[in-house]
Structures are given as structure tokens and as C-alpha cells.
Symmetry: D2
Subunit: 241 residues, 4 copies
């Protein structure tokens, strides 16, 4: 029994050990078919990324340590330079999204504090530059007429928007994933995309979490679940081959 | 064998026979728990409902015969009068939705002719009064600050938008369904909502199809699949109890 | 206005006209990438296909007219001969599936009459040769160790089983679809697969419906929604190129 | 800015702080409508729970510390004593599930080592007592003719099986969740169920993870995402009111 379990445990421990460190398996870069690959960024919005954002304070430390904003911009630039599809998937609540009787713990707080809120999807009033709007420096990549901007998700994953449909409609089956928040929307997107048959590579320094524990939680799950975990540098290298 | 099949066939034929005719089973009105019921209208937009709409010509005959526009308005009014949730689920394509390599036959034609098109979800330019905008006379019900306006669906069903999430978030488990097009978006919504565990009652004269055959096709499927098929008059009566 | 609508209506009418007839567009066979294509057959089970089956009487006329059983076998043989994945997606209710409070009209009847029923998924008792078991002559193709047999669907589409996951896990993005019942499970599979980004080609004589009206309903919807509608002969030709 | 962020950060930190500790919010037990509530247990199978199981070694430490097996049995007993629906959702791979070209890191290892494997869903050969079979002591609750045994999931969440359909078919909208593995299948079920509009309460000592870091990761995510996090004792108390 012990001898049978040992190699298995060792084999499995590869997945755990890789969280936070660099293993041999990770340094062998994946080969991407660029026509079938998209860079997907979740929640690149002011409330997370701008110093005035309602949720900035929660992720600021982790963002600075990882260089998240710069790394996301590097991924966006790489998408444009390499002809890879860029898709952004925002989190937005409207004025009508408050009476949800089954909101989870953190979602309830986000709704109550008016984070990521706009009047209505089709109403431009007060949206420009608001917490729900895209982070200013990213708009040149997002609004270039080529990027895919899907309808907002409402919880943490893409189950209730057109992200998967838009990717599939273009024959994309592989996603390089980053954005906010590491253990919430990014993790949920990783899981949901994989349940739908996508290969997912998470860029672990193009994300940010609300505190060290939440970031560690994200790394543990990325390492076990995803097809691969990359740094921004590795992702750029792999997409430039 | 024959004797065993006979009653079964008769039993089943109830479902078939009811298409287009009124059966005893239908005249027993369903009892709706109004707090758990929503009226859902698909595609109440100018391109279908306005005489200048790009697709109006295709459904005009069926709409006139059934009184579709008046019946949809009656349902919307009833929702407001009876405190029942009204949700509308539009079909909109953006400028970025054209390079879909797997569009189906009719979807390809809709994309190519620019039907139901707006620049982008967040871009108000040229939207007001366009074919993608809601039909003018319905806006007072849709934009009253109470109705749920979900993100557009992209094919025919609600698989890629937040309709189901918005209904579930409010504890709704029963849908009274109408809208355009009878055998396409209405049928797809009926199927998808039921696969997700909703009870669905289709209002057969608050829909319209592109021609008699398509309308008959819709009726055949409603009768077999839905929890019930109602006229607008019956739906109003059931919701007023 | 009239001149603008006219060509559009004509354009659209192509989709309608093709229901039941052969158009120029259909005779241009699609080109299939065999590594990315699967033949999917819904409900190839005794209760539909065997003369003793509980639902045989309902579809027998249509099956004889179309040659459904022979055509499905031809598709299965072609899959094996051409190295194309064959997947079958049965409809099975267990003893525990009776207390469904929201079953639709026909589903309620199927549950009540014990159609397509087995004790439990993991319980072999009484299953062999029952109405829920696969039609005998097809077992050699289904149980060859290569075909994919997914868990049963519970309503009409694949929303609640592993069909899509199994196809995606193998890189398949195109489906050639046939089986029972034309306007119910086949139509629901067509819609759900397409909402999930698959290209779907329906084989219109490898299906069968409960009566002429239901078959016509299926044809109307296939022609508008699917990527293409083929005869078995055309499907075999396209898969043999 | 600072004053605005401070209360928000404090407010949000409630969600983080509650991971692993008991807060006032948690001790106020939720009120369950028993007719609308199900206890859902993921992966209660030998390969995780039996000392001879292929994956037992990975979760054994955490299980002993938490009393996982005893706590799951307590939940199962409570379901039966209180008339609450019990649903189990196993993870099973068949012989045909090996050629998945997009398996994630840990899933690849599970497939390669033959964990949780049976020949085929319908094939009883070698299943009884195998690693894929249910843990012996739990069978009296699972096979009592009342519990819902859904088709296996294939990755970590219920996206590709009938769990959600079975719950919705019975009017259930609230889930008390436990099982294996804390940060994988349990976390994925929590997210997917909530995206589908269920209220989810996770029982944090009726789960187990492969190591302390993975367990901490699970707690962090439960606290932020779920509607509530309970101990087994609290869950039993809440279900006995």
C-alpha cells in the first residue's frame, strides 16, 4: 500500500509544489496556435485599478508587488503585436441589480457599496471614467475596434455572458488568462472555461488578490486545475514564438 | 402489444392535437405564484415590430393575424398591474459580431444584412430609434426602472446572457413567455429555460413567425415541450387571479 | 422601403424554402475536417426503434417513410469506416426521476408511462434488452470500445450531461446529427450544440418524428438554424472525401 | 480617499477574517426551508475515503484533523432524519475518458493513474467496492431509494451532469455542501451552483483538502463567495429547527 501510494503522492505533489515556485515543467513553454488562442482579461476597470477606485485599497498591495497593471498592459500589447485575439470581460452591476435575494457574502457587499455600478448597460449617463468603466490607460487596446468586449458577468464566472460564445464563434480553444480578482473572477473563469473544454493558462503575475492569503489560494488552485501557470514574461515569450 | 400501445398513443396524441386547437387541458388555467413568476418577452425591437424594420416584412402577416403587438403590450401592462416581474431579452449584434465562422444559416443572413445591429453595447451612437432599439410604444414598460433588461442574446436562446441569472436572483421559477420569433428565439428560450428547471407557459398569440409553416412548427413544439400553452386572454386571466 | 425589404425577404426566404426541398446551396457538400467532426445520434434505444418499444407506434410511420433505422446504421458504419468519432446520447429516466414537479407536457407523459426507464444508472438489473437499452442491431457500433456513450440527458437537450464536454475534450467542433425524435431531442441538441459554438449539420432522413406535422416542424427549424441540412447519402459522401 | 476606503476595507475584511475563525455573522444560523434545501456531497468514493483508496494518502491528514468522514455521515443522517433531500455527485472516469487532449494538470494525473475509474457507466464489471464506488459505510444512505445519485461529473463542477437539473426538478434552491476535495470539486460546485442561482452553505469540516495550503485556499474562497460557511454542528442545528 505504502509503496503504491508513494509515487502517486509524489506525482501529485508536483501540482502543489509548483504553486509560487518555478518548476521544470513550467519552464517548458507551451506552444500556442495563435489563430486559436485568446488573451482574456477579467475586470480591468477603475474600481480595481485606479487609485480612486472603490476596491483599489483591497488589491493595491498585491498589485504593486506583482506589477499587475504593467503586466496586464504587456499582455494587451502582445495580443496586438502578435495578432492574438484580446477579449475583456468586465464585472458590472446596474441599478436594477440590487434586489438579489441570493447574493453571496462578498457579492452582497459589492452590491451594497455600489462598486462597479452603472445606471444601465445601455445608458451612457455618468459611465465615462466611473468605477465601472475600463481603466483609462487600457482603453487604447480595448477600444481599437478589434478587441472583443463581452457583456458584463454578474457573479464571478462567464456563465451568464457571451464570452464563451464569442470565443467559440471565432474558433478559439485556448485562453491565456489574467485580470482581477485572482481567487474570484480569474479562478471562476479558469474553472468555467475548462469545464467548457478550453485549455487555460493563467498568468500568475497579471492578477491580483485582496491580501496574501487570497493570492496564495489562487496559486494553489491555478497549479492544480489549469493547463499551465505562466509569468507574463513566459506568456509573452510563448506567444512570440 | 397493440392494446398496450393504443392508450399510450392516445395519451401522447393529446400533446400533438393541442397544437392550434383548444383542449380541455388548456382551458384549466394554471395557478401562478406571482412572486415567483416573470413575463419574459424576447426581441421586442424595431427590426421586427416597426413597419420600417429590416425583418418586419417577414413576420408582418403572422403578426396581423394574431394581433401580436397588441397582445405583447397587454402582457406588459398586466405585469405592471399585477406586480409580476417583466423581463425583456433583446437580440443584438454589434459591429464586432460579424466574423463568426460558425454562424448558422439564418444567423449568417441576419449578420450580413446588418439586422438588429448597433455599434457596441456601450456606445449610444445611432442606437436611439434604430432597428436594434426597443419598439417605441413598449419603452414605457421597459424603461420604467422596474423591468429587467438583460444583455442581448447572440444566437436564439438565453445561454449566453444573464436572463436566467437575473430570474434566479429574484427567486423566480416560472415564466410566461412571448415575443419574436415564434419558432426561433421563443422556442429556444422555452427549451433552455426548461432545461434549467423553470416552468414555462408560452403565449401562442403573443408571438409571430416568418410564415404559416414556421408558426405551425412553433405550435407543435410548444404543445409537446412546454408546461402549458395559453392565449393572451388566458394568461391575463391566470395572472389576475 | 419596399425595394429595401424585397431582396432581404428573398434572401431570407432561401432558408424557408429549403425546408423539405433540395436547394442549390444544399447540394454543395460541406467539407469536414474528420479529426474535428463527430457523428452524434440521440436516443437510439428500443423504446423508439424496436417494434415492441413503448414509443415505436408514434414514430413508426415516419421511420418507414424515411428509412430512419437503415440511415442511422449507415451513419454509424461511416463513422467507423472513416475514423470519425461516433457519440450516442441516450434519454433515460430512472426510478427516482418521477417526482419532478416541473416536467413539461410530453415529458410528464413519458415519465408516467415508464418509457425509457431503468432502475438506476449503475444498476444492471432488467436493463439488457429493455426499452431504455440501445437498439440491438446498433450495439456493435456503440459498444466497440471506441464510441463515446455519454450519460443520459434528462429533458431533450445535452445541457445536463457530458456530451459537450466529451466532444470538446477531443477537440471536436463540428457535429453531424441524427436520431430520435426529430423535433424534440434532435432539435434541442442542434440548438444547444450551436449555442455552445459547434457547427451542426442535421441529417434529415436519419431522424423521425411523431407524425407529419412534427416532422415538418423539425425541417423548418433545421433549415433556418443549422449550418446545413443533409441527406444520409450526402453526409456519407461528404465524410468520404 | 483614505476615509472613504477605510470603512469599505473594513467591511470587506469581514469576509476574509471569517476564514478559519468564527464571526458573529456566522453564529447566527441560517433558516432553511427544508422542502427547498438539499444536502449535496461530492465524491464520497473509496479512492478518497477508504484507506486503500488511490488518493486517500493525499487527504488523510486533513480528514483526520477535521473528522471529515464522521461529519459527512452526520450530514447524511441528518438529511434522512429531517426529510431533507440528499444528493451525491460522484467523480468517475471511464476507460474511454483517457484521450482528453485538454485535461488540466491534476486531472491529467488522475486519468493517468486510473483513479476513480470504472469500465463504463453501464458496465457493472469490477465496480463493486472499487475506488470509483461509493464508500461502503455511506451506501445505506445513498442507496435507500430516496437519495439522488446523479451522473458523474467529469472535471470538478456539475456543469456536465444532471445535478442542477435534478435539484431544480424538485424545487430546490438552497444547498448545504460538503465532500471531497475542498478546493477542487467542492469549490467548483459552490461556484457553479451559485452562478445558477442557488444559495450555497459550505460545511467547512465536512470537506478535506490535499494539505494545509489547499484547505486554507478553500476556506478563503468559501468565506468570500458562499452565502454562508458552517460547521457540521451548525448545519445540523440549522436543519433541525
Amino acid at each position: 500500500m505504502k509503496t503504491m501510494l508513494l509515487p502517486l503522492a509524489l506525482g501529485l505533489s508536483l501540482s502543489f509544489a509548483s504553486a509560487g515556485s518555478t518548476t521544470a515543467a513550467e519552464t517548458a513553454l507551451p506552444t500556442f496556435d495563435k489563430a486559436r488562442t485568446a488573451i482574456v482579461i477579467t475586470d480591468p476597470q477603475n474600481d480595481f485599478l485606479s487609485p480612486k477606485g472603490k476596491l483599489y485599497g483591497l488589491v493595491a498591495d498585491n498589485m504593486k508587488k506583482l506589477g499587475t497593471i504593467g503586466n496586464i498592459e504587456t499582455l494587451m500589447k502582445t495580443a496586438k503585436a502578435r495578432g492574438v485575439t484580446l477579449a475583456v470581460d468586465p464585472l458590472v452591476y446596474t441599478l436594477r441589480d440590487v434586489d438579489w435575494s441570493r447574493a453571496g457574502a462578498l457579492q452582497r457587499q459589492l452590491l451594497d457599496m455600489g462598486a462597479l455600478r452603472r445606471t444601465a448597460l445601455s445608458d451612457p449617463k455618468g459611465f465615462e471614467g466611473s468605477g465601472a468603466d475600463f481603466y483609462g490607460p487600457f482603453k487604447r487596446y480595448i477600444h481599437d475596434g478589434e478587441s472583443i468586449v463581452v457583456a458584463p458577468h454578474k457573479m464571478y464566472g462567464p456563465e451568464s455572458n457571451d464570452l464563451i460564445y464569442q470565443l467559440r464563434a471565432r474558433g478559439i480553444d485556448t485562453v491565456v488568462l489574467g485580470g482581477l480578482v485572482a481567487n474570484l473572477c480569474v479562478d471562476s473563469h479558469m474553472r468555467a472555461l475548462m469545464e467548457n473544454g478550453f485549455r487555460v493558462y493563467v498568468v500568475k503575475d497579471a492578477v491580483a488578490a485582496p491580501g496574501e492569503d487570497a493570492y496564495k489560494a489562487a496559486l494553489v488552485n491555478y497549479a492544480m486545475i489549469a493547463n499551465g501557470v505562466l509569468t507574463t514574461e513566459e506568456a509573452v515569450k510563448a506567444l512570440s514564438q
